[in-house]
Symmetry: C2
Subunit: 406 residues, 2 copies
């Protein structure tokens, strides 16, 4: 039994290939590397039916994941998050078939767990003892916890403005944690210098090729949960964009396996905040790369990324899928967060709320049609961002009586 | 197809029975009511194999749940949480087979989602429009969100000291939320008075009989995840104790269905903090009910319950399963929380950490044997309790360099 059908790494820019038996980072041309699988061999030996008796976690797709020896697997039970029907919110937007992929229901409370589970597992298989990364909070939290489980020492640098709860997750797991008076790009520069030490494995976004393979499983799950039919549109809050690239890659691989209809590709939407919208700007200008966004600021902190190293891959996925990019206002983020909670009982993170806001906007523009099947990615649990909710709560004394609401 | 095999409600104290077609609260004798199922009919029509193609959520056990019409189901995708192996922490405690049932990986981030999903669904089926409850935080959060999804109006009263994030969950979903300068018992008195209004459905712990049926699914899942073999010991952090009563009830029902070995019952352990240990005191004195615990205080806020209405059922489950009750120190709670994060990469809540501390204590006393299979319930995500982690994090300026760790 072959656990993984990984064959090699390749550069999506210059096509150079690399082996998978030793650590690699960027291509010599500067581009991120992607993982290739032997899909021809896999298609003849793997069937959908084999999934039936597998655990409801992302390792059910191990043939399409890079880990070769399952004894190195580092898992906290991540994956197979709910694909939840949102009929009331959908009706409110005039979208008849609105679903949410709820990545709040996962260890560490955000979709970053997927990249960390697969990335840390592969790092362990490659013999890594120390890793380092910049983060806007959730990725650092997830990698800290998975690294602890793998007995790998993590060094994490995050902006002082990142969600405070993610500090706790890093600290409680024993990570080397630093804050920086700046943006994730400043944190990234500090990590780049530190990672010149050959003993430190740089796991910055797309600087190692395996995190994206974990994120890819969101696409695999959406396919399986829609019984391999796939939705018409997928909206994804886009910072580094790895999830969107991963979902696109997953569906391309499923097409080649013959598990989904050939040519069937959801229109992929990269959602950003008006306070930090480099991908949207590039897409509006028809360009294939983005510029650094000056003065980036948004309450949806996870997408506060002024320049993504994988911007060209995000834009390619948008163009190839006939998708688009959309920027939403800060006030609409908070409004959609409240609507989702009050209409559907789900407390989404600001990034997820941004994606709902974009769905509403694109429906109003008729870019999304009323009868289309729309999936919104909620990338994390709202409880990780307590400051986004305004509170004004009456305080009673023991023995007090409640008044009836009028 | 019969969706639920519910037959009637019964009083575990005086044996009086009630129908399930209208709302009921306590028995006329003052005892909580429990749900009875027609297990004889069910055993002839239901098989383990039928679970194979069902979704990985708690509704896979719908025959053993009280909801009769699935169109009233209110779900956020809750259940089938990971049963996670903890080899490093187990080794540290000298327990060879230590697993954690991780209830942090569930909508709303705590096991309270189970009771809320089933309780709110049944309330909706019964035509309830308004509900009210006291809470130590997590239950109020879960019931607020599920009530919002069901278009039911919730009134919640919680102590000012309850975890602040749970306030957000209530507020964002539009609940009527009040704080009280006191304990959950003070909140309970306020709710009792308010619920004299016949339009308000009182869902205080065990004052309605369906929440426990949701909690019961933890026991059903542990049985299925251990391939119906069951562990030797289950440790459960005990406030109101509904989860422990539910797990006991679940396993008794599975025994009667013939799905687990007859007579096979894990020894159930009620874990409390030394700062609030009424069940432990009652068990140590061999009594069948507990006394009100004066001056209750613990960082494991969910188990800060000075007197549980179902105390006699908790104690019965302990005695009948040859279990025990154990109190742990506040300092040990924080220590175990750190150990679990640093050794296993899991950020458990203080209540879960208390249960790990009890496992260590009972192993030291040899009440737990080295080779026994032990399952600890982590009732929620550590991220809901940010104040339990001490932070002291260096702040860098853009352009700074990291020093190598020495």
């Amino acid at each position: 039994m072959t656990y993984s059908y990984i064959s090699h790494l390749y550069c999506p820019k210059c096509s150079k290939t690399y082996n998978t038996s030793e650590p690699h980072h960027l291509c010599t041309c500067g581009s991120p590397l992607l993982v290739n699988y032997d899909l021809e061999a896999l298609s003849s030996s793997w069937s959908k039916d084999s999934l039936r008796d597998r655990n409801p976690d992302l390792w059910r797709y191990h043939e399409l994941l890079p880990l070769q020896n399952p004894s190195y697997r580092v898992s906290l039970g991540e994956g197979m998050t709910p694909l939840l029907s949102l009929p009331a919110l959908g009706k409110d937007m005039n979208i008849l078939h609105l679903d949410m992929k709820d990545e709040g229901v996962i260890p560490t409370g955000s979709f970053k767990a997927r990249g960390a589970a697969v990335g840390v597992s592969k790092a362990r298989e490659l013999g890594v003892k120390e890793l380092a990364m910049p983060t806007n909070g959730n990725a650092g939290a997830a990698w800290s916890l998975y690294a602890a489980r793998a007995s790998i020492t993590p060094t994490i640098v995050m902006p002082v403005d990142a969600p405070k709860i993610t500090r706790n997750e890093c600290a409680v797991s024993g990570a080397r944690l630093f804050l920086v008076n700046g943006l994730i790009s400043d944190a990234g520069q500090i990590i780049s210098r530190a990672a010149q030490d050959p003993d430190i494995y740089d796991v910055s976004t797309l600087k190692e090729p395996y995190r994206i393979e974990g994120k890819k499983t969101m696409g695999l799950e959406i396919a399986e949960q829609t019984e391999w039919k796939l939705p018409d549109v997928i909206l994804y809050p886009t910072g580094g964009g790895v999830g969107l690239i991963g979902i696109y890659k997953a569906i391309r691989e499923l097409q080649r396996l013959g598990w989904v209809e050939n040519g069937r590709m959801p229109r992929l939407v990269a959602v950003q905040s008006e306070g930090c919208a480099p991908i949207v700007k590039a897409w509006e200008e028809g360009r294939t790369e983005s510029d650094f966004w000056e003065g980036a600021e948004t309450m949806a902190f996870g997408i506060n990324v002024p320049k993504a190293i994988g911007d060209f891959l995000v834009l390619e996925a948008i163009y190839e899928s006939n998708g688009c990019a959309a920027a939403v206002s800060e006030s609409s983020i908070q409004e959609e967060q409240q609507r989702a909670a009050q209409m559907e009982g789900t407390f989404v993170c600001p990034e997820g709320a941004a994606a709902f806001s974009a769905a509403r906007q694109l429906r109003q523009k008729n870019w999304i049609k009323e009868e289309e099947h729309v999936v919104v990615l909620n990338t994390g649990a709202g409880i990780k961002y307590p400051d986004t909710v305004d509170l004004d709560i009456p305080v009673l004394q023991p023995g007090d009586a409640l008044k009836r609401k009028v």
